[in-house]
Symmetry: C2
Subunit: 371 residues, 2 copies
DNA sequence: CCAATCCCAGTAAACCTTTACCGCAAATGT
DNA sequence: ACATTTGCGGTAAAGGTTTACTGGGATTGG
C-alpha cells in the first residue's frame, strides 16, 4: 500500500499577500494562537504582545474570517428574523429595532421575508439552518409543523408572536391586542358610533385572527352589536383596503366607523372613501393598527393603535438570548398596545345626508375604476 | 523532542447524531466525496448512487453547512447591498427587487444600512468583508476613499449609483435624472407655473446633488428663472419635508409649485401645506421623486418621477455578476426616469387670493406647532 | 543556588466541506 | 486471453480560525 502523497494546492497568488491570521502573526512576531487570543480579548495575553498584535492588525487592515470563525467555534453570531413582507412599512421599522438590539448584543441579523407564501417560508427556514443562525424570530404567520420540527431538532431557539408551540427552546411574544383595540372601540363608542366595520387581515395569520377576536370582544363589552356583513377579510395591503372599502360601500346603510387590522388597510380604506366623496371623519371614522410612521402624514392623519416595534424587537432578542445562554427562559413576554387619537375619528354626524348624496353620485359615475 | 499528541475533541453528543456529510455518506453507503459531488450536481456521479445519496439526504434532512462550504470553495455566494435607511419605503422596494434577482442567480443578500452616518458605513463595509461578500452594491452616499481602498484591495467588485470611482472591478449605474425631472418641469411649465421651488435632499448625497442639478438645468431649458431662496436643503424624510415647507411659507410670495428630491419630502411638504390651509394643487402643485407605492395613496395622489427599482436592482446584480465572472464588464448602466402625473399638480389658479387668506390666518394662529 | 510554581505563548487538532489526484474495476480492442 | 483505455469512487489536503494541552522561561521560596 503506497503512503499518502503530499501535495499543495494554493489557490492563487503568493502566500504572503493572503490576508489571514498567519500574516498578522508573522508581522507581530507571535503565534497565530496569540493573535486569536488577542482578538477575542482573552485576558491571559501579555499586554505588550497584545499591543504588537493590534498594531499588526491595523497595519494590515486585517479582518477575521467570519466563516472560519463560525465553523470552528460553532457560533455564527447570527440571529434570523422572518417577517411577512418588507414593503409593508411596519416591518422595516421592526427590522431596524431588531437589528439595533441584536448588534448591541454582538449579533448580526439574517432577514427573511415570506410574502405570506409557505414555500418561501420553507426556503427562509432553510437559509436560517444552512447559515447556522443561532436563533430565529418568526414574525409572520404560524409556521408549519414539519418545518418547526426541523428547527427544533437542531435545537435552534425560536420566538413567535402570538402563537405558542409548546416545546422547550421556544418563547412567545404575546401582544395584548385587546387593550388597544378596546381603547379604540371605547373611543368610537364615546363619540357615539353604533355601527363599526372591521377590515381584517388574512385570517390564516394568527395575528390577524387575534385582532379580529379582540375587536369582537371589545364590541360586546361596549354593548355594540357585531355585524358580520361589516367584517371583511383583507390582505394587509393598501390594495386590500381599497377592495374592502369598496365592499363596504356596496351596502345601503354604511357603518359610521371602520376599524382596520393594520395601517396599510386603513390607508387604502381612507383613500377609497375619499375617492367616493365621503368625508373622514365627517361621514366615516377610521382607525388603523400598528401606527406606522406614515399614519401621521395622511390627511386626515390616522387614528391608530400602536404596538411598540422597539418593545417587540427588544423582547424578541431578549428571549432568544435567554435561550442561548441556557438560563431558564421566561417563556412569555407581553407587548401592550394603546390608542393614538388623531384626526380620522370624530362624531358620526351627518352621515345620512351625505350618504344620499353619495348614492346618487354613485349611480352616474358607475364606470369609474378603483384607482 | 516529543512527538505530537493525538487527541479528540468532539463537541458533544455521539458522533452518530451529528448531521454532517459523513452521516449521509454512511447511510447511502458511499464516500463523502460522492455525496459532495451529488449535491453539487457534478455529472461524473453514477445516477444509481446519486439516487441513494438524495434519498439519504432527504431521510436525514441534511443541509450542507454554508460556512464550511464557503470556506473551502472561497465562494460565499453572498452579495452585499448597502442602502441609506430601510425605513424610507423606496429602499425596501429596492431591496426586494435586488434580493429577487440575486436569488435567481444563486446568491443571497447581506443588507446594510448607513442611516447617512459615515461610521455606520464603515461598519457595513466591515461586515461585508468579514462575511466575504463576493460583491457589494452601494446605494447611498459616496463612499470614502480609505474604505473604498479596503474593498478594492480585496478585489471585491463594487457597483455604485451615480458616482464613479475609476478603478477596475467597479461599475456605475447612471440614473438619467434629467429626463424625468425635465418632464416634470415641462409639465409644470405647460400648466403655467413660473415660480417653482425645489426641496433637495442632503447635498452630500451625490444623488441629491444630481437631482438638484437636473432641476436647475430643466428650469433653464424651459426659460424659468432659478430662485435660490426657493431651493431648500432637506433630508429625505417626511420631517424634512415639513421643515422645508415651513421655510418656504415664510416668504411673502409663494412659489406656485414645489418639486421634491424624493417622495417622503413631498409627503411632508404636502402635509404641511394642507395644515396651513393651502390647497394642493389649487394653490401649490407638488411633484415628488421615486414614485414609491405610497405616492398613489396620498390625497391628493402625488405626481412623481419614477425610477424603476426593478431596473436598478437588475442592473446592479447584473454588473456584479459580470465582474465576478471575469468577463470584461460594461462599466456603465443607465437607468431612466419618467414622470407619472397624478393629482398633486394642476393649474396655478387663484394663488394670490388664497395667499392673502393664508397670510391673515397665519397671523392669528402663530403659535401652532408643525405637527 | 536549586527546586517548585506559575504564567503564558506555541503547537496542532478540529470544525465541515470541496476537490485534486489516485487507483480499481469494467469495458473494449487485438 | 491479455493489454489498454475509460469511468468513477475514494482518500486526504486545504481553507482560516479557535482552543486544549504542552512545555519553556521567569519568578519565588527555601
Amino acid at each position: 500500500m503506497a503512503g499518502p502523497v503530499r501535495r499543495t494546492r494554493r489557490r492563487s497568488a503568493s502566500k504572503s499577500d493572503r490576508m489571514d491570521i498567519h500574516a498578522v502573526a508573522k508581522l507581530a512576531h507571535v503565534s497565530i494562537a496569540t493573535v486569536s487570543r488577542t482578538i477575542n480579548h482573552i485576558p491571559t495575553v501579555n499586554p505588550k504582545m497584545a499591543k504588537r498584535v493590534w498594531e499588526a492588525i491595523r497595519e494590515l487592515d486585517y479582518f477575521p474570517n467570519t466563516q472560519a470563525r463560525a465553523l470552528v467555534s460553532g457560533r455564527s453570531r447570527l440571529l434570523g428574523l422572518i417577517v411577512s413582507e418588507i414593503t409593508n412599512p411596519f416591518f422595516p421599522e421592526l427590522i431596524q429595532g431588531f437589528e439595533e438590539v441584536a448588534v448591541e448584543n454582538g449579533y448580526e441579523v439574517l432577514i427573511g421575508s415570506t410574502n405570506y407564501d409557505p414555500e418561501r417560508m420553507k426556503s427562509c427556514i432553510r437559509r436560517m439552518v444552512e447559515r447556522n443562525a443561532e436563533g430565529v424570530a418568526v414574525m409572520t404567520f404560524g409556521i408549519e409543523q414539519p418545518l418547526l420540527d426541523q428547527l427544533a431538532d437542531r435545537k435552534i431557539p425560536l420566538v413567535f408572536v402570538d402563537v405558542a408551540p409548546n416545546r422547550p427552546g421556544m418563547s412567545v411574544l404575546r401582544v395584548d391586542y385587546h387593550h388597544g383595540i378596546r381603547q379604540g372601540v371605547q373611543h368610537l363608542a364615546a363619540l357615539g358610533h353604533r355601527s363599526i366595520a372591521f377590515v381584517a387581515g388574512p385570517l390564516r395569520l394568527h395575528s390577524a385572527q387575534s385582532r379580529l377576536a379582540a375587536f369582537k370582544k371589545a364590541l360586546q363589552e361596549c354593548g355594540i352589536p357585531v355585524e358580520e356583513k361589516f367584517i371583511i377579510e383583507g390582505d394587509h395591503t393598501m390594495e386590500g383596503g381599497l377592495a374592502a372599502a369598496a365592499r363596504i360601500l356596496e351596502h345601503k346603510n354604511l357603518p359610521t366607523a371602520i376599524m382596520c387590522s393594520n395601517d396599510m388597510l386603513a390607508i387604502g380604506v381612507l383613500h377609497k372613501l375619499s375617492r367616493s366623496g365621503l368625508q373622514v371623519p365627517g361621514d366615516v371614522s377610521i382607525i388603523g393598527f400598528d401606527d406606522i410612521h406614515m399614519a401621521e402624514m395622511m390627511i386626515p392623519s390616522l387614528t391608530s393603535i400602536q404596538m411598540s416595534r422597539a418593545d417587540l424587537a427588544r423582547a424578541a432578542v431578549s428571549a432568544l438570548r435567554t435561550h442561548l445562554e441556557g438560563s431558564t427562559p421566561k417563556r412569555e413576554y407581553t407587548i401592550d398596545t394603546h390608542l393614538v387619537v388623531r384626526e380620522s375619528t370624530g362624531f358620526p354626524r351627518g352621515t345620512m345626508t351625505r350618504l344620499r348624496k353619495f348614492t346618487a353620485k354613485r349611480a352616474e359615475s358607475a364606470a369609474e375604476s378603483t384607482q
